[in-house]
Symmetry: C2
Subunit: 329 residues, 2 copies
Amino acid sequence: MKKILNGTDQVVEQMVEGLVKSHADIVHRVEGTRVIARNDKRSGKVGLVSGGGSGHEPAHAGYVGRGMLSAAVCGDVFTSPTPDQIYEGIKAADQGAGVLLIVKNYTGDVMNFEMAADLADAEDIKVEQIVVDDDIAVEDSTFTTGRRGVAGTVLVHKIVGAAAEAGASLEELKALGEKVISAIKTLGVALSPCTVPEVGHPGFELGDDEIELGIGIHGEPGFTREKIMPSASLAKQLYDRIATESKLISGDKVVVLVNGMGATPLMEQYVFANDVHELLKNAGVSVEKTLVGDYMTSLEMAGLSLTILKLEDEKWVDMLKLPVETIAW
Amino acid sequence: MKKILNGTDQVVEQMVEGLVKSHADIVHRVEGTRVIARNDKRSGKVGLVSGGGSGHEPAHAGYVGRGMLSAAVCGDVFTSPTPDQIYEGIKAADQGAGVLLIVKNYTGDVMNFEMAADLADAEDIKVEQIVVDDDIAVEDSTFTTGRRGVAGTVLVHKIVGAAAEAGASLEELKALGEKVISAIKTLGVALSPCTVPEVGHPGFELGDDEIELGIGIHGEPGFTREKIMPSASLAKQLYDRIATESKLISGDKVVVLVNGMGATPLMEQYVFANDVHELLKNAGVSVEKTLVGDYMTSLEMAGLSLTILKLEDEKWVDMLKLPVETIAW
């Protein structure tokens, strides 16, 4: 294992320190915790808390700030944060109007965020939870009952964040979030595995010419292994499944997110994005906004995911375009 | 070679297409060229043009837009764009007040940008050129006479971009750019090589436990190969050389850029940034702004570079902080 770190047991601690020292103008660490909270005060508005295992940077700390999350809770690498840490995040986010938790669908995360919500409830902080399950690759998975929550989560952060900033209520934000989640579909592909520092070896193996379609962001198995293929063929495989699942038809409007898994050059991501745009154009589907880059990574995994948000409400695009003050959006 | 692309000869063309389709709200392609130009009109202001070989994304097209570059010219992978393409970039950038070329110091780039400036001169477009040579690793290199231009170039784009947006003259921008360049020092390290698509195999080899210090952004040799070491030791090696070269003393103010080379997780970049902050704190040097992320990559090379800008003028920080409308800043 060749990585830039000091001791595998210190990696998350030192990452959090590095992050808050580097971006003290936007975020701070809640002392004694693994919570990254926004500096900007937002009295009277609903707080938004997300988080999960580390190793997906810039998610989620990179999306904390004005117009997006109030706080992100950082677990160990690929490991859910504990309920007490999430509770600290809820307290940091609460400004009297309640707190919405945005959770990726992994069994550990869902359980721990729920326990944290119970702790908050006991202290009379109103908390609601929405669970993102955008990955259509498989039903149930290594760490998940139902579908996994992956890169589409950042679109939820942004749209719900815009509504929270505008003063929407906890109930309104929950309903909005659930509507957005149901309109987001994602599929990923891996070209190479990644290594969790404390484990020290890759989480799975792939042949020199093999790729895995439907991979999860922790290297969970997908639905097929195939030989490396042209970008256009790969785009078609991922797009066709998403289009079927989303029931996309000519005239529909969408937002596209091409998300790098960590080690995939932007050059390849843009070649792939070009192929996706061709497919959508041929299908008569209008792309209202495209995001390309490393939004939700899996350490140094090579690969990418395709997310399509079907616009059931055109205001969602405006909400995605509103400026924010975060590290990474 | 396992990459997401369609034919190695189409990779830059399709990347450019994917980029302009994805970000049509910010940039467009000058028809029939490899020039990415900003949409935003800026009549009467000096145009800024940069570019170079592709494979360093988001540099430079990601920095085109209001407050930064007017146009970026995309060469083949790791290959300078031709003079006629650069000339197209100059024409796209010119609004009557002249054009400043920001060139990384590589022999091919310097020569081709100069030839393009001559073409423009013949058409009565006033052009000046500044050459970034921030990499202190080696004097002369595989493709360079003098020192190489690397990640610090993006700080030049941003500071000079802010001044251009504010209406500075061509002469003022050239003087500012040269002053900023002389205050920027960078050193890089590679943990793994990268593969140019048309070549098909890695540009160099490193042992399983080896790293190369002083590497260039095309894999040019550095000054030493060592065994992988803790992040804190690596930070100290890079920092000490930069601090000596910059004559940093207690009380100085700096901007820090930790730049990922492509395949290095943000997690590792932040651990390293934390170590750099410790070194600067111990040296009594004040960090006024920190940037962490993949700003100037080398395809899928693993590694990072450390850039320190010594603030000879505190206004430079304000200029770095001014909002812009680009894809990647």
